[in-house]
């Protein structure tokens, strides 16, 4: 079901004051509705009011600089209650007798309220649904369509074809499959580094286990060696000692605590315990020595720190970054009133500063990424782990400075602010600690050797073997844990890769399907838009073609034939008027074939670039090919124009059954703006009504319209010729030209002796009416505003207009009664009676 526009009422909105007497425009649903207004007579306000009613936006104001305070100019500045009100009535096209009325109000602070009929639950949403891609069109719409990039044009055209949701999903899929940000958003580098670190940990544990196994077992180690195999080999090695077997029990794995307790009951228990403790301590400290992989870790960290220095050097600087981050935090805090207000200087800006700062912070992306890599490289390194553990070794007695360095390093890793200087300082402190570690380790080894020397060798060997076995089992646990961690992280990476493939394939399939559908729809439109274009621009050896890119959303405006040349680009070849004609043809073809909620189309001065010929052809297209009733899916057309040439055309067409014309006149933005169909009798009736109440403000413009109406009626009825530029003069000159044409034609026929008018009428025209009308009325109507005349003067003007009309009429008694009839021309009556 579609909805048509039945009427609009406007008060206190933009240039239309109309306090207490809203400007009302009624629209016919099956006719072309034209609305003419001279400049500054309220036409743009009508278009803006419609846009505001449907979308909440005011065309022309939305793009103004924030400092222009546009929102406070929506309400008419002269309206006494400072409230703008727009009411519209729409009717469903299947039940034209049930209009739905919506009223939208706005106050100078921009507060907008919408009320609607009870049967519409969400009036705002309903009104917005009426604002389809064809509802509100102006000159810029078509100009932009041609000038846009092929991609933007393609997306616009998808909207015209009702496929905008598909285009949006296509763009959303493209957004999700963006590979540039995939690594960052999905932490790929971080996870890859973590997996490598876990793999290194497992490798170190495996090497340690291999070394320990070699100390207690002669077995050649299998390849690959796994934790279960290592435990089995260690168990087998321990079970070869009969002293241990007697305490072993049924446990499949060595019961280390039981075995240790059994050895402690021997007479050398104390010494054995000491040797065992020393061995464990030696093994602990041994793990804190420099490991082979550590050199690579150090080199990588230093390289990343150098790289970080380089990217910082080419960035605007970390102080700037920190200032931007601080400002952003302030702007995003709940207490900050307006994201357009600068937190530093407190000035209010046109742009949203959150977006602005986020854009600037984008310049630091390389810095942040490199800093994150450096932080992760250090955090996951073996040397950093050793650095932390080494403080707990009481024998090493870390100095206060070494503790401070470690503290700064930990803090820098926590907030990703590590730089090269601190990194090198930390490595130097660690090296110092390790030098003392080696000294301490050597002392412990020497001490143990002294203790062991006092024990029987068999017992020493047994205690040592048991200790090594226990270490093997402990290291196997760490090994398995590292393997499990690596597997978990690698699974995370695999899932991310699966996602990437899934989204990429989905995006590709969707894009192909959307392209195919859109291309077929565009192809189906071809006969229609070609016919419309040929009608607007007849006799032109040009055949347009709309072509959709096979692998994107681009839409190209081509010329299949340009005076015999094939496949050329239309925007580069066609004149502005022809480009607009092509754009209008494409819009109309889409509008006539695509169902939308809105069944009406409002066009504001869309033919500005057209000459008179093209304008007439365009009007004919609306009347015969687009108008609801002329086409199975035709639209209600509302055409706004200030073009003087079109005004005459509107005037002539309004006598046809498929066209209705209204004209705006009045005193915007202060006084009343009214709309009247060009009908002299109705104008006179309205003027008399206002004069009878003493309302000279309201009557003035209508008297002016009555005068115009009278002049045009005489010209039309008596077929009096006018200058060729008559239509393109502005309103005042047009009236002047009309009266001058009449005066000259009367003089000419009088001189030739062919004038049919009576002497009294002739004298009235040449000596009384025209001088009075030209001298008084026109002098007081330098523009169409017509203000400043009293009721008495206006009544006099009305009387002269009546007298003017009577000068071109005669008494006809052909049918037996007496009635006034206009002469057929200045030389003949309509009939033969005298």
């Amino acid at each position: 079901m579609r909805f048509l526009l039945k009427s609009i009422q406007i008060e206190g909105f933009r240039g239309i004051n109309n306090s207490g007497s809203p400007l009302t425009l009624d629209f016919a649903v099956d006719k072309v509705n034209s609305v003419f207004a001279s400049n500054a007579q309220g036409k743009s306000s009508v278009f803006q009011a419609l846009a505001f009613a449907l979308t909440g936006n005011v065309k022309g104001l939305a793009d103004l600089h924030r400092g222009e305070d546009a929102v406070s100019y929506v309400v008419n500045r002269f309206h006494p209650t400072h409230t703008g009100t727009v009411s519209i009535q729409v009717v469903p096209d299947n039940n034209l007798s049930s209009p739905l009325k919506f009223t939208i109000t706005i106050t100078p602070d921009g507060s907008r309220t919408v009320t609607g009929p009870p049967e519409v639950a969400e009036p705002q949403l309903f009104l917005r649904s009426l604002a389809g891609p064809f509802t509100l069109l102006d000159y810029n719409t078509f100009q932009r369509f041609v000038a846009d990039s092929p991609l933007d044009r393609g997306r616009t055209f998808s909207g015209l074809l009702g496929l905008s949701r598909l285009s949006e999903v296509r763009q959303a899929l493209d957004t999700l499959q963006n590979t540039v940000t995939f690594n960052r958003d999905f932490r790929i580098s971080e996870l890859t580094a973590a997996a490598a670190a876990h793999r290194d940990d497992a490798h170190r544990a495996q090497e340690e286990v291999s070394r320990l196994l070699g100390a207690i077992s002669p077995t050649v180690l299998p390849t690959p060696l796994t934790p279960p195999l290592a435990r089995a080999i260690a168990t087998d090695a321990l079970r070869r000692h009969p002293e241990l077997l007697s305490y072993w029990g049924e446990s499949p794995e060595p019961p280390f605590e039981t075995l240790k307790r059994s050895l402690q009951v021997t007479e050398q228990a104390m010494l054995t315990n000491e040797a065992s403790t020393l061995l464990a301590r030696i093994n602990q400290l041994t793990q804190l020595r420099v490991a082979g992989a550590e050199f690579d870790e150090r080199r990588r960290a230093i390289a990343l720190a150098i790289q970080l220095d380089e990217v910082i050097a080419v960035s605007p600087g970390l102080q700037i970054r920190d200032a931007l981050r601080t400002s952003l935090a302030v702007l995003q805090s709940p207490g900050w009133p307006d994201s357009h207000q600068c937190p530093v200087c407190e000035t209010t800006n046109d742009r949203d500063l959150v977006v602005h700062l986020q854009q600037h912070l984008g310049a630091f992306q390389a810095v942040d990424d490199t800093a994150a890599l450096l932080t992760e490289a250090v955090r996951l390194s073996n040397w950093f782990r050793c650095f932390g553990q080494i403080f707990h070794q009481r024998e090493l007695e870390p100095t206060g400075e070494e503790r401070a360095v470690y503290g700064r390093l930990s803090a820098a890793i926590a907030n990703a602010s590590l730089r090269r200087g601190l990194l090198e300082e930390s490595l130097e402190a660690l090296d110092g600690l390790r030098e003392r570690l080696i000294v301490q380790l050597n002392a412990l080894i020497l001490h143990r050797e002294e203790v062991v020397a006092r024990l029987p060798q068999s017992l020493v060997a047994l205690v040592s073997t048991l200790g090594v076995g226990e270490q093997i089992f402990a290291r196997c646990v760490a090994w398995e844990e590292s393997l499990a961690q690596e597997a978990r992280v690698r699974r995370q990476l695999e899932r991310r890769e699966e996602w990437r493939s899934f989204v990429a394939r989905a995006a590709s399939e969707f894009a192909d399907a959307e392209t195919a559908l859109s291309a077929s729809r565009i192809s189906a439109l071809e006969p229609l838009y070609r016919d419309l274009y040929a009608t607007i621009v007849p006799g032109n050896d040009v055949v347009p073609k709309l072509a959709r890119s096979p692998d994107g959303e681009d839409v190209f405006l081509l010329l299949e034939n340009f005076y015999g040349l094939p496949n050329l680009k239309a925007p580069a070849l066609l004149s502005e008027a022809y480009r607009n004609a092509l754009a209008i043809s494409l819009y109309l073809s889409a509008a006539l074939t695509t169902p939308h909620v809105s069944g009406f189309m409002v066009l504001d001065d869309v033919s500005s670039s057209f000459d008179a010929g093209l304008q007439y052809f365009l009007m004919d297209v609306f009347r015969t090919k687009v108008r609801r009733g002329s086409h199975s899916s035709g639209l209600q057309v509302i055409f706004l124009s200030h073009d003087g040439t079109l005004e005459k055309y509107f005037d002539r067409l309004s006598n046809e059954g498929d066209w209705t014309n209204q004209k705006l006149f009045g005193r915007p933005p202060v006084g009343l703006v009214q709309a009247k169909e060009r009908d002299g009798a109705r104008l006179r009736e309205a003027a008399v009504a206002h004069l009878s109440t003493g309302d000279d403000n309201a009557a003035g413009p209508i008297v002016r319209q009555y005068l115009e109406s009278a002049v045009l009626e005489v010209l039309r009825r008596l077929n009096i010729g006018v200058p060729v530029d008559f239509a393109v003069h502005d309103s005042r000159k047009m009236l002047d030209a009309g009266l001058t044409s009449i005066e000259r034609a009367v003089g000419l026929h009088k001189a030739a002796g062919s004038l049919v008018l009576s002497q009294l009428q002739c004298d009235g025209i040449t000596q009384v009416v025209l001088p009075a009308t030209l001298g008084n009325s026109l002098a007081h109507f330098p523009t169409s505003a017509g203000h400043g005349l009293s009721v008495v003067v206006l009544e006099g003007a009305m009387a002269r207009v009546d007298q003017f009309l009577e000068c071109f009429q005669y008494e006809c008694t052909c049918d037996g009664t007496s009635r006034k009839r206009f002469y057929r021309s200045l030389t003949a009556r309509q009939c033969s009676c005298h």
Partner: protein, 76 residues
Amino acid sequence: MPFRFDPSQEIREQLEAFAAHLTARDPELAAILEEALTQLSPLPPSGPQRNAARTTANSTVVRQLDGRDPTEVRPV
């Protein structure tokens, strides 16, 4: 056969058909994708706003891929 929209269907039906097509391939990832697309609707204008929306949607995707609460600090 490549996936194609049925021109006789309404947009809603066409999108449902595509969702069913993806679900048949991988129900879990299809559900995650549907939620991500919901987060991107209405699609912000390209530039910083759309980038921010993508980051938010991707964080939801990561959370669902990892099967964890987004507020949890994940060990890596």
